[in-house]
């Protein structure tokens, strides 16, 4: 049972993510999550302000159905398929996070120091979440894809632009994790 309710092994998880991409290819679609953000902007009427959002969002309904499914999948996995034993990160990571004032997982997927309701209500906590979102939205659209579109689909199809994008993901990610995060949380 631990096989299902505990953390799934990386090899099983990776294989199933690859299969998800192949299933969508078989359905005649391409695997990409960030394009939904553009579709949602179009639905909200952003086409009035930029041609970039002048698209027929009805053609993207399949992708919205996919995202809605992902939401439901998260719900099912968290409430019915988990025993609260995850996330078992490296003990070194936990010690390091402690020095930044970030709480250990102890069964949580995300730290309270960033995602709790109290943090959300503080100006700094709110700003971190909003700025993180802005970078994700702007960056993925500029780069034309995110982890699913570039790191999985693009690289699977041996696309050079996707390799450049993934190198970019790591330039930004390493800079944030090693240099900027300590600055943000040290003063807390």
């Amino acid at each position: 049972m631990e096989l299902i309710f505990g953390t799934w092994h990386w090899a099983i998880s990776g294989f199933l993510i690859g299969v998800t991409m192949l299933i969508l290819t078989y359905f005649g679609k391409s695997f990409g999550m960030s394009s939904n953000l553009r579709t949602m902007c179009s639905m909200a009427g952003a086409g009035k302000f930029s041609d970039f959002f002048k698209l027929d969002w009805r053609e993207q309904k399949w992708s919205l159905a996919l995202v809605l499914g992902a939401f439901v999948g998260g719900f099912i996995a968290f409430y019915f398929l988990s025993d609260g034993s995850g996330v078992n990160v490296n003990p070194e990571t936990i010690t390091q996070l402690q020095t930044l004032g970030i709480d250990a997982p102890n069964g949580k997927l995300v730290p309270d120091a960033i995602f709790s309701f109290e943090t959300l209500q503080s100006p700094k906590g709110f700003a971190i979440l909003l700025i993180g979102g802005l970078l994700i939205g702007f960056g993925t659209r500029y780069a034309g894809g995110c982890t699913s579109g570039h790191a999985i689909s693009g690289l699977s199809n041996l696309q050079l632009p996707s390799l450049v994008a993934v190198i970019g993901f790591f330039i930004g990610g390493l800079a944030m994790a090693h240099y900027i995060l300590p600055l943000i949380f040290k003063t807390a």
Partner: protein, 137 residues
């Protein structure tokens, strides 16, 4: 119902990413500090599966669900958009520990603060749409 198969694929994807803990801020932090093989193993295995699968699809000219030839879209050429856009996304990914898919998945796990990330991501996408023609691609 035409959309049901996508909805079901989405449920599958949401369960896999949650159980893999790829939606966890901790896993992303750990990955960028090279303190675990977990995320690299996931991405590597997904890639291996994807490369082999796409090669088979191409070699045997597999038809899609509707019986049409599978046409895998090539990425547009360019450099700046990929390196700059990619780096900006990387900054956000390591800050709030999620990429666009997990934003929606985490909402399902009851992490309501992620709604602020979603609003930010929609705004960011909108700002890109406004500035698109002024940016190097």
């Amino acid at each position: 119902m035409k959309l049901a198969r996508f909805f079901l694929t989405g449920i599958f994807f949401g369960i896999v990413l949650t159980k893999a803990e790829a939606v966890s801020w901790y896993r992303i932090y750990e990955m960028f500090h090279f303190q675990s093989f977990h995320m690299y193993g996931i991405i590597g295995t997904a890639l291996f599966t994807g490369i082999v699968g796409l090669q088979i699809i191409k070699k045997y000219k597999v038809k899609d669900y509707n019986g049409l030839p599978i046409n895998i879209i090539e990425k547009e050429r360019g450099f700046w958009r990929y390196i700059i856009g990619g780096s900006l996304f990387g900054l956000g990914w390591a800050l709030v520990g999620c990429c666009p898919g997990p934003i929606f998945i985490l909402l399902g796990t009851g992490t309501y603060a992620i709604a602020v990330v979603l609003i930010g991501a929609l705004l960011g996408t909108y700002i890109y749409g406004l500035l698109k023609d002024k940016l190097p691609h």
